[in-house]
Amino acid sequence: MKQFDVIVVGGGHAGAEAAAAAARMGSRTALVTLRCDAIGVMSCNPAIGGLGKGHLVREIDAFDGIMGEAADRAGIQFRLLNRRKGPAVQGPRTQADRKLYRQAIQALLAEYESLTILQAEVASLIIGSHRVGGIVLADGSHIKADAVIITAGTFLNGVIHVGDQQRAGGRVGDAPSILLAQQLADLDLQRGRLKTGTPPRLDGRTINWSVLDSQPGDDTPTMFSFLNSAPFVPQISCGITQTNARTHDIVRHNLGRSAMYGGHISGVGPRYCPSIEDKVVRFADKDHHQIFLEPEGLDDPTVYPNGISTSLPADVQHQYVRSILGLESVVITQPGYAIEYDYFDPRGLDPALQVKAMSGLFFAGQINGTTGYEEAAAQGLVAGLNAALLATGRPLVTLSRSESYIGVMIDDLTTHGVTEPYRMFTSRAEYRLALRADNADQRLTETAIALGCVSEKRTNSYSTKAGLLSAAQSLLSQTAFSPRELQAAGVEVSADGARRSAYDVLAFEGVTPEHAARLVPDFASFDQAIQLQTACDALYVQYIQRQDRDIQRLRADEALAIPAGFDYSGIPGLSNELTQKLKRVLPVNIFQASKIEGMTPAALLLLISHVRRPSRRLMA
């Protein structure tokens, strides 16, 4: 007899969000982790959000997830990045107090009654015929469930490098984990190797802050959760310093001792997060690089120097760090290191993050080749929702590229795979103007409510907000004004005779909600947040309309699912080469199939007709 609907293996950011999502859906959920007190630990930089990443956190929040709430509770320096640019490219970010963040995640998980947290080691999966049935713990006990989500992070063959020193990291060396790794390897999933690095951690009490510039948070902090409006704890500033010619000389002189440059690392590192070795070599013409000194907590002296990750030996780290302004007598509390690990090619997953070859088994987070807390949590959310849906026999849910950054990320991963640790950027979203951090709830919360993963509190709060936004928009759209009337209200508009509504002119640069209220006095009765949101919604209307055609086609193609186990060899007229490619890629819908290299309109046509055939037969 099964004890749980859903089991989540791992308590990192993917695991925590997955467990919370499954539990919100009403599933009896177990989170199995080696250390309960390490759930929600931030193992890299002490910050949440940023450009693209902030969008992901807002989307998780729109599904009533926990990351946004925890970040708000732990946030000690909130900044809205790109504040002076358009709302489509603004991203909320905060420095987070490590301890407070961990505590917030653990407290939020404790609120779910249907969630059980188990401290145990997972030895293997219970596998039926192409179907997962639960897990076996290291002590030999069996726990049965309909769905298992693996959020194993970097545990697969992890190796930590400091200079020419290496040691096994993660879970390698434990026999039971090897069994699990072997089982996963037997699923015939492609594996790749990636690397990532961290900077040395510094003792903030040994930094000479008085000579450094500081970066405060925003005067009006922007929260992650749509339900919060102000920070929970006192706010701090970060310090700013930079490397110099001497720093670069030290690094250059010792390149041979770096794990990466000494030839000890084969994994591919991210281009957007180069080590200090990389920076010195690849951008040799730059005589300095910026470093942000980020405090790790309100009552923690540790400082994270963002910008100088490294795999140089500890003595060289000591030398180059002390060459930097303000750090002349700094003490390193923990040297920086590089870590190499295996990931599974995410092209083996369907868009619900379920392993194509094994029903009921889901992967989320770094195991899929991504990097970052936010990317991991967003995948955890999708895996958690779908595991719960699977357990109750309901159809799985996938998010489209046209409606969310989460959809963009999962489509990128499952269609293209990864060649470096995958991180979200706003430039990855082709419908960026429509997918904004400010409207994540408008895009997704209704879907979330329909799925049944939203609390009553958020449902009520969202319904009220949506009603007000719709009322404000129709109020502003009702009346059209002549250019003369608009000019009288201070709106710069050419006297072309065209009549425009207040909503129309909110798309013009420099037109504010105040202008709109001058034209339509009743608009002033809406509170400021609704007025500002209405302006954001109006700003890109014409661009979004232009993109609608593409979006419609995309959605139609996504909606045409190719059933699992579809027989491509049974299609006369399809070239051998394409048949082989289709068999290898196993696209889950026509959109994915259309992106296969060499796909022609004719072949796609054939494919569609065969995919549709059974349903037509049924109809006839």
Partner: protein, 427 residues
């Protein structure tokens, strides 16, 4: 759902060209050109737009779901002239909600609406495959040369411009240059100027692929049809001593000095009370205006016609076998002066080919125009790059996507690659 249109018959010169329009706005769109006949009844209509007559032809309307695609649809059976089809397409493309169909899109819609069975789909797929295979080969040949040479630098410039803008967006917190506008402006202007120049050359490119039109124009009974037959070396047109024998435009395709040429024999130009002859004369004038080169057959010096002259018109005095009024002259009957005329046609067409661009298809032209318009908007927004970079980025992306349709795929990975190789990202 967009309303789409495309030429349903083979491209090029033919007796009849069928333009198919499908989608919710199809009846409305055709209704802008003429009074729509009742559904499923053919009606002869004159198609007009903005006071200009486009063509006369059969118009057929279909109502959903009883059409090829299962949507509301209209077929326009036009005269099979490239100029006419291009003009009507241009008018349709400018209508709200209408656009040129993508390859296979009519069939795709038909299938989405359950209007094709499997055997039909397979038959169609074979056809499209055959076509796309030959197109692919042609495309490869062209790509390996001229088009790639043209597009690659535009692509590189736009990619660089996009990367500069995107870097200020996605890495606002990092060591990236803040004021990228001057470099972006230079890049965008350069590409836009090239696009404008290239569009001006597409007309000649199309002519090389589809043939030049050379019209023979003159008074009735001056020997135009006889000359046509002499040039074509076959009895393509009926000849007689009766003035006004040729009433419609007669077309003969042939090669002159390696160039594909369509010779047009037209009705003799005169005032006529005969209704049918009048239509023929009007058509003759219209085709003479639209053709790439004209041969005027004259009876006497100073003879003038109701067709505006051009510097490269060829003048010949007619029937040199009967009377030599002036030089140069030609006789279709004896063949005297025909070689000389052919040589002059070749020498007049040759310069038109050298100015030809490499973008000869309507699809190419559409892509160039789309890209140019988007770049114009991006350039206009550049002064505000620090506050609305996302709008500039969107326009550059529209331009890149349009050019992408001509030359392979530009993915976001290319963009990120450009960013990461140019700037030191990673604070």
């Amino acid at each position: 759902m967009d309303t789409i249109f495309a030429l349903a018959s083979a491209h090029g010169r033919a007796g009849v060209a069928v333009l198919r329009i499908s989608g919710p706005h199809s009846h409305w769109a055709a209704g802008q050109l003429c009074a729509l006949p009742p559904v499923r009844q053919a009606g002869l209509r004159v198609l007009r737009h903005g006071g200009e007559t486009l063509d006369q032809g059969l118009v057929l309307a279909f109502s959903a779901p009883n059409s090829f695609t299962g949507e509301d649809a209209v077929e326009l059976h036009l005269h099979g002239s490239i100029a006419v089809v291009a003009k009507v397409s241009e008018v349709l493309a400018q209508m709200e909600g209408l656009r040129l169909a993508d390859a296979g899109e009519f069939t795709r819609r038909a299938m989405d609406n359950g209007h094709l069975d499997l055997t039909q789909v397979e038959g169609l797929a074979d056809l499209i495959d055959a076509e796309s295979e030959s197109q692919r080969k042609q495309a490869l040949q062209v790509l390996s040369g001229a088009i790639a040479e043209k597009v690659a630098p535009w692509r590189a410039d736009l990619l660089r411009a996009a990367a500069l803008i995107e870097a200020t967006i996605d890495f606002a917190d990092e060591d990236v240059p803040i004021d990228v506008a001057p470099e972006v402006l230079g890049l965008l202007c350069r590409v836009k100027e090239d696009l404008v120049a290239e569009q001006a050359r597409t007309g000649a490119a199309t002519a090389i692929r589809e043939g030049f039109e050379v019209a023979i124009v003159g008074a009735p009974n001056v020997g135009k049809s006889t000359l046509l037959n002499a040039l074509a070396q076959r009895e393509a047109a009926i000849t007689s001593d009766i003035a006004g024998t040729t009433r419609d435009v007669i077309e003969v395709r042939m090669h002159i000095a390696g160039l594909l040429v369509t010779l047009l024999d037209t009705a003799g130009l005169r005032d006529s009370d005969d209704v049918v002859e009048s239509i023929g004369i009007a058509r003759a004038k219209q085709r003479a205006e639209a053709s790439d080169l004209r041969i005027f057959l004259l009876q006497q010096p100073g003879e003038a016609f109701d067709v505006a002259s051009r510097p490269d018109d060829i003048l010949r005095y007619a029937k040199s076998d009967v009377s030599t009024v002036a030089m140069p002259s030609v006789s279709g009957k004896t063949g005297a002066g025909v070689e000389d005329l052919l040589a002059e046609i070749a020498s007049k067409l040759a310069p038109k080919t050298s100015s030809a661009g490499v973008f000869s298809r309507q699809r190419h032209l559409l892509a160039l125009t789309t890209a140019e318009i988007a770049l114009g908007k991006a350039i206009n927004t550049l002064p505000r790059a620090s506050v609305m970079p996302e709008v500039i980025a969107t326009e550059i992306r529209v331009a890149l996507n349009a050019l992408e349709g001509i030359l392979g795929h530009i993915g976001v990975e290319d963009l990120l690659g450009e960013i990461f190789s140019s700037f030191c990202i990673g604070k």
